[in-house]
Each structure stands twice: as C-alpha cells, then as structure tokens.
C-alpha cells in the first residue's frame, strides 16, 4: 500500500516534471527592466510628485530588484548591512532554480505600487505582466514570485521606517515672516514650500542629512557693494542679456533642456495647472538608461546602474533639502521684483522651495560622479530624455560635463544665484564620492 502510494506520487511528479521541461524559461532582458522604470516615471508624472519625493520613489523599487539579484550569490554585493538600517533577509528561500531577473521585476513592481497614489496604474500593469509570465511558465513564475515578494516585503518593511510617514504631518514652512532674506512663495501659483522636513528622512548612505553641509551662501544684504547684492545684479544683467539674444540662444536652449520642474504653472483665468515635466532625478535616471543601453549592459548591470544612481540622487536630495530649509534663502524673482525691476521674469518658472543650494546642481553632481564610476569618464552620449516633452536632443562628452551644464542652466533660467549652483555642484560631488567610497557594490 505504502509503495503504491509512493509510486503514484512518483508518477505524478514525473508527469509534472516532464510538463515543465517542455515549458521554456521566461526570458527577461534589460529592456523589460527599462519598461518598469518608464512605467513608474509615467505614474509619477500623473500623480504629480515633488522632486524629493520622486527620488525616494525611484530608489526603493531599484533596491528591491537589486537585492533579488544579489542577496545570494549575485554578480554584485548585497546592500544589506551597507545601507542605513538595511538588515539581511532572514527568511530568504533558496535561490536555486529561481529565475532571478523575473523575481527582480516582481519585487520591483511590488514595492513601486506602495509608493504611488495611483496604485491601480501599477497593479494593472503588473497583472498583465504576471498573466503573461504565468502563461509562459507557471512553475517558474510561481517560484520567482515567492522569492521576489519575500525580498520586496523585506524592502517595504525597511522603507516604512524611513520617517517618510512622520514627515507628512510635520509643520509646513511658515511664510508669515518679516525677515527680508527669508524665502517667500513665488508667482504665479505661490505654492507653499515643498517638503520642509525632508532632511528628517533616513538617508540611504549618508550618516546624516547635514554630512555634506555646504558653505553658507553670501550674506544677505541689499547694500550695493555686498557680495550678495552683486550676485543678484549679475543674475539680473545676465538674464537680460540672454533675453536680448532671443529664443534661439544657446543659453535658453540649455535652460529649457534642464528645466525638469514638475510644478510649472500655466495660468488660464480661473484655472492654473502644472504643465508637466519630469523631475531632475527622473532626468538622470533617463541618462542612466541611455548609458546602459549604449553599452548593451546585462540585466544585472542595468539594475546595478539604476540602483546606484537612484541612491545617489535620493541622498543628494536629502542633503540639498537640509541646506535649503537651513538657509531659507529668498529666490531672485522675489528680490528683483521688489527692489530692481517689477516687470522682470525669469526664463524658467521659479520652483516652490528656498533657493540655496540648487537642487539640480546637487543631484547632477552626485549622479554624474556615480555614472562616471560605472561607465567611465569621457563617456559621450546623446541625451534624448526630454524628447517626449517637446525638447531636442543634446549631446555631451561626459556625465560630468552634462552635470556642469545642468547646474549653470539654473542661472540662465533666472531661478538661482551663482553660489547656489557652484556650491551645489560641489555638495553633490561630495555626496556621490561618499557613496562610491562607502558602499561596495
């Protein structure tokens, strides 16, 4: 009897096995991973997330995917016990016979869906993918799913302790102030200061938000011979010169190309809306994609590049926002309107947060350092990121040159003084270098 039972099971097993042998491996390429990142970008544009929040949304799904690939015997080193408070996974199933790239995609989507408002836009995308994988090879899919979801659950648990939830209920930036140097909301939407408590978030690698605190900005003064006032006047004169050159000037092309402001408000009578753009973080994620594609990077390298870049961007935002709401510096538009020229407008719309340091400069500094270590210095590329937003391609000879241009674009755009751009870039390079030197990928 016992024998019979066993043999039956054996037969059943055999039949099952032979079936699955017929089923092919689910092929996952880097292209599929790009697809997920693009989908997440799309949903983020729809939900309108601020640049710092967007940087956080990019990072956790990447880390989940990276850990699927590398928690055990990967081509890269696991990030657990390297990133702040990320422990290794205790209940990780055996990685044997797991389609890791597939599990990585599953983990990515599982984390991503928790980060956006329009969850359904991720879950319906996920469901159609799951259905097609299941049809291709149910067993492989089921195993990968179990593996992927274990990693994503671990990632989510860690994510939920990063103080993001707490910062939602922290005080808003108080715009009622008599200090003439203090940031004020800017036209035309006069939005409140975005994410005043972002520095309270747990950084990924930095020991604290203030680790790379930049030198303070020139001391606020309206005296004609002060360094600060000179900066304001320089900016005013420079932007006027640019405007004189006209719409086809190189400076205007640069300013528009790197605008990356999701809050640009278009004012049409009783309605005002944001004409959507991607965030600075999203732009560099786009450059990362271009680089991995140009180098025909493997799935593993692609995930690695996205992960390292997004971590650098996220910590750059934490570092930058820490300074923004320390110095709380007033934007050029407010000052120039009040003291110099009421009819002056910046070429770009002023984004809704304090001036110092320039977020785009810090982020570009950090991202370009990381990308340079991955793909090398002097890596030339054509930046096609802004094509969907009606802007042309720009070509760069290196990531660092692109970063320099991104930084200076904010001065051309009339939304930052020079110090915010110079010191911001330095701040970003420090963040990037620190990540490169601290984390072993």
């Amino acid at each position: 009897m016992i024998f019979l039972k066993n043999s039956l099971r054996l037969i059943a097993f055999f039949v099952l096995f032979s079936c699955s042998e017929k089923a092919k491996d689910i092929q996952i390429t880097a292209e599929e991973y790009h697809g997920l990142v693009d989908q997440l970008t799309k949903v983020m544009i729809h939900d309108i997330f601020s640049p710092p929040v967007a940087s956080r949304i990019y990072t956790y799904p990447n880390i989940a995917a990276y850990e699927v690939l590398n928690a055990e015997n990967g081509s890269y080193k696991s990030l657990s016990n390297q990133l702040n408070e990320l422990k290794s996974i205790s209940n990780l199933p055996s990685a044997k016979n797991i389609n890791k790239p597939l599990a990585a995609l599953i983990a990515y989507l599982d984390v991503a869906k928790e980060l956006v408002f329009s969850k359904e836009k991720i879950t319906s995308f996920r469901d159609s993918l799951h259905a097609s994988w299941q049809a291709q090879n149910k067993q492989q899919f089921t195993a990968a799913k179990e593996y992927g979801l274990t990693v994503s659950a671990h990632t989510l648990q860690w994510m939920q302790k990063d103080k993001y939830a707490e910062t939602r209920t922290m005080p808003e930036f108080n715009v009622h102030s008599k200090d003439p140097a203090r940031w004020q909301p800017t036209p035309p939407a006069y939005m409140k200061g975005i994410e005043p408590s972002w520095s309270k978030l747990r950084p990924f690698v930095l020991d604290s938000a203030a680790q790379f605190k930049p030198v303070p900005p020139p001391k606020f003064s309206l005296k004609k011979d002060s360094d600060f006032y000179k900066e304001v006047l320089d900016l005013y004169n420079l932007t006027n010169q640019i405007k004189e050159k006209g719409n086809n000037s190189e400076e205007i092309a640069i300013a528009q190309f790197w605008d990356c402001n999701p809050y640009v408000a278009v004012n049409k009578g009783h309605f005002m809306f944001a004409s959507k753009k991607i965030t600075p973080g999203a732009h560099w994620i786009g450059i990362c994609k271009i680089a991995t594609k140009k180098t025909n990077s493997s799935f593993e390298k692609t995930v690695f590049a996205y992960t390292k870049t997004s971590i650098a961007i996220a910590d750059a935002f934490i570092s930058c926002w820490d300074e923004k709401y320390r110095s709380n510096l007033i934007r050029p538009e407010t000052l120039i309107h009040k003291y110099i020229d009421a009819s002056w407008t910046p070429l770009l719309q002023t984004p809704p947060f304090p001036e110092y340091t320039s977020g785009h400069s810090v982020v570009s500094g950090a991202a370009s350092e990381v990308l340079t270590t991955i793909f090398g210095d002097g890596f030339a590329f054509d930046d096609t990121t802004e094509i969907p937003f009606g802007l042309p391609i720009r070509s760069f000879t290196s990531f660092r040159n692109a970063a320099k241009e991104a930084a200076v674009s904010r001065v051309y755009g009339g939304i930052h003084y020079n110090a915010a751009v110079q010191n911001g870039l330095t701040q970003g390079i420090h963040v990037g270098q620190f990540i490169i030197n601290t984390i072993h990928f």
């Binding site: 544009i45 729809h46 939900d47 309108i48 408002f117 329009s118 969850k119 359904e120 939830a165 707490e166 939602r168 209920t169 005080p171 808003e172 930036f173 108080n174 715009v175 009622h176 102030s177 008599k178 004020q184 909301p185 036209p187 035309p188 006069y190 939005m191 409140k192 640009v264 278009v266 004012n267 049409k268 009578g269 009783h270 309605f271 005002m272 809306f273 944001a274 004409s275 959507k276 753009k277 309107h337 009421a342 009819s343 407008t345 969907p388 937003f389 009606g390």
Partner: protein
C-alpha cells in the same frame, strides 16, 4: 386595526394628491415670475458661443461671461423695447408691440454691431434729441478681436447710425460696461467705462500698479464736453492699472452728500475700488477705510437702499457654490491659504470668494451680511438686481447664474496637469482646447430672494422656475405696463428669457418717470423718495445695473396695501428738491423739473452728540508673532494662538487711579502704564523684558500674597517657536512697585490659557483663581482641564479637587447672579455649553440650562438686560453671519481621534446636509494631514459627496471623541427666579460676527454693555468675520451702534474694551489683536 389601516390609506391618498398638486404648481403660470416662451414673445435671440482652438476659455479668460441686455423706449410709444448683445453674433433690437409681443427690427435699424466681441449695453439719449440711443461695449485688440465700443444714434425713424467716433466714444480696449452719470454736476452725462485685465506676469504684481494707467485694460472716466467725450481718468484719480480686472460698477450717492460715487468690482486679486466724489471733478478711493470684507472674484453688482434707512446698500457677486458636490470638486478659498500672505505683501486687501452684501452705515462704513442672509453662495453668479418684485414695499433680489464650463474644476486641473505635454506654446494650447470638454458643467438655476428690509429668504422654485441655465446680463422693467417688474435675461447658447410678473393688481405700486433739463432729460442721478403708509422708500435713477446691462430710467415702488402716497420728493441732479403731495397709487406718475417748484432745503439729519472723543493716551501696538496654527496643525478649524493682548487693570501704586498692564505676544515686552490721573506713564519692569518670550493671553492684578498690594498673574498662550518653557502661566509679586517672579508653589499650567479670574470664593480671606484653558498647544482637538487654584493665604496655590471641568474655555467671570452676595462662576466654552456654577460658601454647583446650547461661546457677562431687576447671563457666540450658520439647523460635529492610523490624532469638522454628514475639509486639505486620502480617493469627484463614514470609517469615527455645536446665535439666559431655563436670541444686528467682549459701563445712572468682537482667527475657508462694528446695549430694546457715539467702527479682532477713570474724565480703551490701541475720553 382596520381603522388604522384605513387612516393610513386616506393619508397616502392625501400625500398623492399633494404630490400631484406640487406638479401642477411647477407649470409656469403658478410662479410669481413666469417664463414666457420665445414663440409667444417673438424674442428668438440667443447668445451663441462658437469656440475654436484660438477662441475659447483657454485663450480668453472671460469667454463665458456672456452678453448684456438694455431696455428703453426707443420709439417713444410708451412701451419698453429691448436690445440684446451677442458676444460673437449679431446683436438684436426688439420693439415692444404690447401684450408681451416683440418684433425684431435689427436689420432695418442697423444695430447688429460690427465688433468681433461685444459685451455690455446701455441706452442713453446721447444727443438730447428725445430719442434713446444705444451704446455697446466691445473687447478689441485682444486675440484677433477687431472693433471698438459702438454708439448707435437713434434717427427717430426706427433706424440708427453708428457715430461713436463723432462723440469720442469709440473706445478701444477690453470694455465690459458703460455707466452714464453726471459726476461733475455740469448738467450733462459723462461716462465711466469698466474695462477688464487679462493675466500677464505684471498683472500678478504689486497692488501699486493700479496707479500706472495702462491702455486697453484700465477703466476710464470720460467727461462730456459739449457732446465730445474726453478722457479725464488721470485728473479725476481713477485707477487704470494692468491689474484692473474690472467686471462691473455701481454708481450711487453712497454717502448722501448729493454727489455720485462709484464702486468698481474687480475680479481676481485686485481689490474693488470705492471712489468718493470730491465734488471738484476728482475722486478719492476709500475702499480700505469703508469696507472690511470684500469679494475676491467680484463680478456683477447693484446698489439700492434695502433696509429703508435712506442710504444705498451694495451687493457684489462672486462664485462660491452652495452645492456640496461643486464645493468639493472646484477650487475654493482653501487654496488661498498660502497665496493670501503673498497678496498681502503685494499690498492687496484680504478678499474672500463669496457674494458680499454690504450694508451702508450712514455713508461712513459698510458691514457685510451675505452669510447671515444666506445669499453668499449662489454659485457662479453674474448679475444681481435689487427690486421689489412682489410690490410689498421691500427690495427683493434676483441673481443670474451659470457658466458653460467650470474652469476651476479640480479634476480638470489635475487631468490637464498630468496629460499636458507642452510641445511649444501653440501646440500646447491646441491640445488644451481639445480637453475643455473635461471641464465640469456649471449650469445652475438663477436664484431669487424675497426681502423684508431685515433679511432675505430664498424663493427660487416658488417665485421663479428652478431650471439650470447659463444666464448673464439681466434687467427688470415693466414690459406690459401693469405695475409690476418683469425680468429679462440674456443666456449663453439658449433663448433669452422673459419672465412675466404676475403680481398684477394684488398689490399697490407707483412708477415714477422724471423729466429733467435739456442735457439729462432722463434725470440720471436724481433721487426719488416715496412717503407712504409711515414708510419711506428711496431710489436713485441709474440705468446701468447688475452685469453688462441697463434698465430703463423709470423708478418703481411697491406699496403693498397702502392706498395713499403722502408725498413724493425728488432730489434732482442739481440737488434742488421738488415735492408732490397726495399722489394716487397704481399709476405712472411723470414729474417734470420745475425750477419754481424746487427748493434747496437741506435735509435735517439727526446728529447725535458724540459721547466719545478720540484722545491719545498711550502709543501701543499689539504685534502678533509669526506662529501660524494652520502650518503646524493643518486641519485646525481656527487659530488658537492669537488670544492676546492680555489686559490687567488695578491701582498698583495706590494713588487712587487704576493702572494698566498690557501683555504682549511672544517676543515682545509687556508693559505697565501708571495712571497719574491726567496721563499714563510707562513703568519700567526688568522682569517683563526677561519674560518677553512668553505669549500673554490674559492677566489680572490682585493681592496674591495677602500683603495689601496688587500682584500680577499672567496667563500664557502658544510660544512662537513652541518652546514649552515659555508656555506656562506666571505669578509676579509686587514689592513696592517692582514686580518679581514668585517662587511660591503653584500649579504648573502648560496649556493654552484663555482666561483667569480671581475671587475669594471660599471666603477665607485670600484670593483664589479660576484658570480657564482653551486647548493643548500640541493638539487642538483634545478637550483640556480648567481649574480653580485655592490660595493658602500666602500665595501658594493648589487645585480645588472638587472642581472638574474638561472642556474648551474661552472666557469666564465671577458674578453674583442669585443675590446671595457670593459671586458665582460663569464660563463660556467652545464646542460645549456655557457653564453656570452657583457658589455656596465655596461649593460650586453646576446649574441646569436649556438643551441644545452647545456653541462657540466667546464671552459671558451678568447683566440685567431685560430690565426686570435681576441679572441675566449675556452670552456672546459666533453669531449667524458665518459659513457654519448655513448648516447649524442640525448639529455640526467635531471628531477628534486617529482617524487614519497615521499615529497622529486629527480633528475634523462635519456638517449635515439632508441627513448625511460631510467633512468640511476638501480632499487636498485632508490629504495634507492624511496622505492615504490621496490613495483612497484618486479624483475629487470620487471624494465629493462621500459622507464622513465613507471618508473615514464607522469604527474610526466611533472611537473618536465627538463634540458638537448646536447654536451660533448670541443671546442671553433669562433669569427667572434664579433659574436660567430659557435662552433668548439677540436681534439680527448683534448676530453679524462673534461677540468676544461685553464690558459694563454706566451712562447717567443707566448701565450699559459695550459689545465688541470679530475674529480673524479663521482660515481662508471662512475668511474673516469683522462685521460687528460695536454696540452699546442698555436693554434688549435699546441697542445703539457705538459708532454713532464717536467710537470708530471695529474692523479688527477686538480682545476687550475697558474703562478707566481719570481726574476729570473716563477713558475707553479698545484693545485689538495685532493692532494699535485706541482710546476715547468721555465724561459720563
């Protein structure tokens, strides 16, 4: 059993028949104003809008503002003819053939107009030939709109010739409407043309830009110089800046000085303008000193005396919806929280998006009562008209409504934001145009309100059909000469409406037609006063009213059942008066100007001897710190951090005159001023400098340590940076005039204290203290304990364990209300009832009071207000002129708890509509505190109309702590044999804003209460409630505005008033939050 059933059947049958009756009632012939079909009238005019990618709301913000209509007898046949403006199509002129039949004579008459975008219209006899001409405004030089304002001069034979250039009236710009009047009293008609701005970077700039005149955009005043109109705007001090979003004006002699003034409604952030005629060809703009609350998106307006006091009142329309769905789906004032601060920096006044009914107080100031009248939220409203539609002798109000698409739909905004890809400017605009159908429809019924000279009540669906429409310009006139006013309305994409008034002969009336001098035959600017049945009604002759439209120049008065008119007095434009006695009712009375019958008799106006004289004693300004409750507790319903200044009064130097302590806001030094009997001298106290960080909310001088001199107890509020060391109450001991912090034992009170009141309630020879706490500085929603501190005789205090009060205390007083010579404790609370504790030898027992008295009580006093010899309890509540009052028929709830498991407790307010409770806050406001709301309700339309149980959960609400308000009325608890079982509401004028202070004063042996209040603690949803300009009450029957006695109107948030004696006089102190101290001397 069977009996019961048959009864039920009869009842059901009855119900059916009632239902059926209602149905028949809805057929047109049963309204007061019945819509007459176009086939019947022959008026087939429609204002059809044709949109394309380069002509739509996307490129022109006023694309849906609609067209005007004007009335006048153009062929002098005694019947009123009508002219309709089509924005893009042909304008139409209809001749009245009698019996409400009209004939379109546009083609022959040559009046269809040639401008690409026409707007407002007025009929005026420009060449004084006795035939009315037609003036039409146009928007030109915007987009590709060509044209100019047109003047169709009546040839007297049914044809017209366009002659605007000849008269200098061919204005080119963004014109909306023209207002003909004689501002300089030279006998001819000049014109004010309202023009609108469009959004540019500059138009969002500083308020001072209104001083730089801008072509096309700025309003203009044109002076008539022998038939030629020339621009005198600059000379006359008329603003014409790039930010002048003018949409209408109302001309009236607002201050009754005999010269015409102008109120201009400006849309968006620009303030309205209130021009007072200087009688020398110039005007002075006085909005800031005459109005405390104005509409933000001011659209149409009208002026008329609605309360019978002889002064013109004013209404301005805005776009606040009353519909709960629209409220939650469209952008409202909540979005202005951050914008408002910036606008203030740019020099603009605080404005709120709702209709404003401005009641004129004898030409000196206006107080606003639209919320009280429930006419504040008539939705996207264009044209208001005051007129007596039911001929009962009171002004009623008709409002046109509707917008083709609501451009402020929040989902539309989000949709556009997340889908818009800016492929360059042109492409982007084209894409936007394609998505305008995503905007929600704003088709809503017009509304009508019956007036009784004290309050309006809505009659929509009763007096007039309740059909959604897109109505803009409108006018009233008697089309069929039957003695009642019919209505004419210009609609977008639909037939113009004619509403026949069916009052007919059921009520009496008089219509007055004036004939004045050569150059102003219609007597524009004349005032007509009708004295009949002990009642006086006044109307001023202006034709342009409401929005884009003008009525005829006759004036109409309903007389109800009064059969005799004692007299009619005409005040001609030259301010000469002419009187007609014993005029018959129910007729058209024409009055011709006759120099021999006129006189210059000045009207005798009662002038009260001013009891209070402004006199300067102390330079003091209370300056609030920059702490902002709304940034720290996003859902807090109002600020609790602006409770100052703290005032204590007492003779601390024993010179026989009371001195004063003024406690400052966090960061400023508090002061003591010593009263010498002739002046006040500052007494420097080092300890106050050391304690400047504290926020003082209340204070009292009394002997704390029983050493015979006055010590000081100061209550603390919320510190500007929330340092808890600076949020506890303090005791200062007086040592020969020097105050030092007490080291004695007392209760540490870290709560937000609102009131302290001392009294030896246990009669043991020392002063004890009641400490009233309003809130926990960390979290508004929690109720907090108040306490009585018992003095051990040496200034050590401990709490009376028998006194337990967990509530939100705002104010309290010790007063003997039962005549046992022991003071009792009276306490005002918010979201709770007033508390009355009778004191019997130190034992405090809570008294029974009437049910349903949970309120937002702000002040409490014992005063014999009904003059029956015992003390009643006077109670200041929020009043009935606020946004809560709309919902107060049912309790308004406040839930406090962790409603969304975000580890933070939040407080939310919910109000009842048709049995369902809805959250007051918008989706975005709730989400700012509870991120998950964005995930649960992706779109605003998913959130709108979700009751609180769905927005949160039944369980979450059940576990939350609930408090309520059931009444907002101020009033008093009547003392009947020591019981307080009936609450009596004060009359209307005391309900216009919160009452925060009740100060007793004595005037020639008569006791009076000085009533003051207002609040600016509220957020932008409420705006600010500042309509309570001050009253002196001797009894419920004797209420007098304090302004009539010389006290300036209270425009700010009054903390309290106080009266101090000096050698030869008394001084009234008025303490306001964040404003200067004002003092008035008086003898008695």
């Amino acid at each position: 059993m069977s009996k019961k059933y048959s009864f039920l059947i009869v009842f059901i049958f009855l119900l059916c028949s009632i239902g059926c009756k209602k149905k028949t009632k809805n057929t047109p012939q049963n309204y007061l104003l019945n819509s007459i079909s176009s086939t019947k009238t022959g008026i087939s005019f429609k204002n059809i809008l044709t949109e394309d990618a380069s002509h739509s709301i996307i490129n022109y913000i006023y694309f849906y503002n609609g067209g005007g209509v004007s009335a006048g007898d153009i062929n002098n046949d005694g019947l009123i003819d009508l002219y309709f403006v089509s924005n893009q199509g042909d304008n139409k002129l209809y001749i009245n053939k009698g019996n409400l039949k009209f004939e379109d004579i546009t083609e022959n008459a040559n009046v269809k107009g040639s401008s690409d975008w026409s707007t407002g219209t007025t009929m005026v006899d420009i060449n004084n030939d006795g035939f009315l001409d037609i003036y039409v405004c146009a928007v030109s030089e915007l987009l590709d709109f060509k044209g100019h304002n047109e003047l169709f001069v009546n040839n007297g034979n049914g044809t017209f010739t366009e002659k605007s250039k000849e008269y200098g009236l061919d204005f080119k710009g963004y014109a909306t409407q023209s207002y003909f009047f004689d501002y300089d009293k030279d006998g001819d008609l000049d014109v004010y043309i309202v023009n609108h701005a469009v959004h540019t970077n500059l138009s969002h700039g500083s308020a001072s830009q209104r001083e730089n005149r801008t072509p096309l955009v700025g309003d203009v005043l044109l002076e008539n110089k022998d038939g030629k109109f020339t621009d005198v705007s600059k000379k006359a001090n008329i603003y014409g800046g790039v930010n002048g979003y003018g949409l209408s004006a109302s001309i009236a002699d607002f201050n009754n000085d005999g010269w015409d003034d102008i109120y201009v409604c400006n849309d968006f952030h620009e303030d309205d303008y209130y021009y007072i005629n200087n009688q020398d060809g110039t005007f002075t703009e006085k909005l800031a000193t005459s109005f405390s609350t104005i509409s933000r998106f001011s659209m149409g307006s009208d002026a008329a005396d609605i309360n019978g006091d002889g002064f013109a009142d004013l209404i301005t329309l805005d776009m606040l919806p009353s519909d709960e769905r629209a409220l939650k789906e469209t952008e409202g004032d909540d979005a202005m929280l951050h914008m408002q601060a910036n606008l203030k920096n740019l020099g603009y006044k605080d404005q709120y998006s709702r209709n404003m009914l401005q009641i004129n107080n004898k030409g000196t100031y206006f107080y606003e009562t639209a919320l009280f009248n429930k006419i504040a939220d008539t939705d996207w409203s264009w044209s208001p008209l005051f007129a007596d539609f039911d001929n009962d002798g009171h002004q009623d109000l008709f409002i046109t409504n509707g917008i083709l698409r609501r451009p402020n739909g929040l989902d539309f905004k989000k949709y556009v934001a997340s889908t818009f890809k800016q492929h360059g400017q042109t492409e982007g605009l084209e894409w936007l145009y394609k998505s305008i159908d995503e905007m929600p429809s704003g088709k809503v019924p017009n509304q009508i309100f019956k007036g009784n000279s004290t309050k309006f009540s809505e009659k929509t669906g009763d007096w007039i059909e309740k059909n959604p429409s897109l109505s803009n310009g409108s006018l009233y006139t008697d089309l069929d000469n039957d003695g009642d006013l019919d209505l004419v309305v210009n609609n977008v994409n639909d037939f113009a409406s004619i509403f026949e008034n069916t009052t007919n002969s059921s009520k009496n009336y008089i219509t007055v037609k004036l004939r004045y001098t050569e150059k102003n035959k219609e007597a524009i600017g004349a005032k007509v006063k009708v004295f009949a049945g002990k009642k006086e009604q006044i109307k001023q002759v202006y034709t342009s009213r409401g929005f884009l439209s003008s009525t005829d120049s006759k004036v109409h008065f309903g007389l109800d059942s009064t059969a005799k008119i004692d007299s009619i007095v005409v005040n001609w434009p030259n301010n000469l008066k002419q009187t007609l006695k014993n005029v018959a009712v129910n007729q058209l009375q024409t009055i011709y100007y006759s120099e021999t019958e006129t006189s210059l008799k000045k009207e005798v106006t009662e002038t009260e001897t001013l009891r209070f004289k402004k006199e300067h004693f102390i330079s003091y300004r209370h300056e609030e710190d920059t702490y902002n409750d709304f940034f720290n507790e996003r859902l807090i319903p109002y600020k609790v951090s602006t409770l100052g200044p703290a005032i204590a009064i007492g003779d601390i130097d024993n010179n026989g005159f009371e001195d004063i302590y003024i406690g400052a806001a966090s960061g400023k030094t508090s002061e003591i001023y010593l009263n010498t009997g002739t002046s006040f001298k500052k007494s420097k106290q080092k300890v106050f400098e050391e304690d400047a960080a504290f926020e003082d909310t209340d204070a009292a001088f009394f002997d704390i340590d029983n050493d015979g001199d006055l010590d000081l107890y100061v209550a603390s509020g919320i510190h500007s940076l929330r340092n808890q060391n600076y949020e506890i109450d303090r005791i200062y001991i007086n040592t020969r005039g020097v105050f030092k912090k007490s080291t004695k034992k007392t209760l540490i009170n870290p709560l937000n204290t609102s009131t302290i009141n001392f009294y030896d309630y246990d009669n043991d020879g020392d002063n004890d203290i009641f400490i009233g706490n309003l809130s926990n500085p960390d979290s508004f929603g929690a109720t907090v304990n108040s306490a009585i501190l018992v003095n051990d005789g040496h200034g050590n205090f401990k709490a009376d364990p028998n006194f337990i009060l967990n509530s939100r205390v705002t104010s309290a007083v010790w007063a003997d209300i039962n005549g046992d010579n022991q003071k009792d404790l009276l306490i005002a609370t918010e979201w709770d009832t007033p508390k009355i504790y009778i004191n019997t030898n130190g034992k405090l027992s809570l008294q029974e009071i009437p049910k349903n008295l949970n309120g937002l009580w702000q002040s409490i006093a014992a005063f014999d207000i009904d003059l029956d010899g015992d003390k009643d309890i006077v109670l200041g509540n929020w009043g009935e002129n606020n946004r809560f009052s709309k919902y107060i028929e049912n309790p308004i709830h406040f839930y406090y708890g962790d409603l969304y498991n975000n580890t933070k407790r939040e407080g939310i307010i919910a109000y009842n509509i048709d049995g369902q409770y809805y959250p007051l806050n918008t989706k975005d406001e709730l989400a700012s505190q509870m991120n998950i709301i964005h995930k649960r309700f992706l779109n605003h339309k998913d959130f709108a109309l979700q009751p609180v149980e769905k927005v949160f959960t039944v369980e979450a609400l059940a576990s939350a702590k609930k408090s309520s308000i059931e009444t907002l009325s101020s009033g008093y608890l009547e003392n009947k044999n020591g019981k307080f079982l009936s609450f009596k509401r004060f009359e209307n004028q005391l309900q216009v804003a919160p009452i925060t202070s009740l100060t007793e004063t004595t005037n020639t042996a008569k006791k009076q209460l000085l009533v003051s209040g207002n609040t600016l603690k509220v957020n932008t949803y409420h705006g600010g409630y500042t309509a309570l300009k001050g009253f002196l009450i001797s009894s419920i029957k004797e209420i007098k505005p304090s302004t009539s006695l010389g006290v300036e109107p209270f425009d700010n948030q009054i903390k309290e008033t106080a009266i101090l004696k000096m050698k030869n006089k008394k001084v009234l102190f008025v303490f306001a939050n964040n404003d200067s101290l004002k003092t008035y001397s008086f003898k008695n």
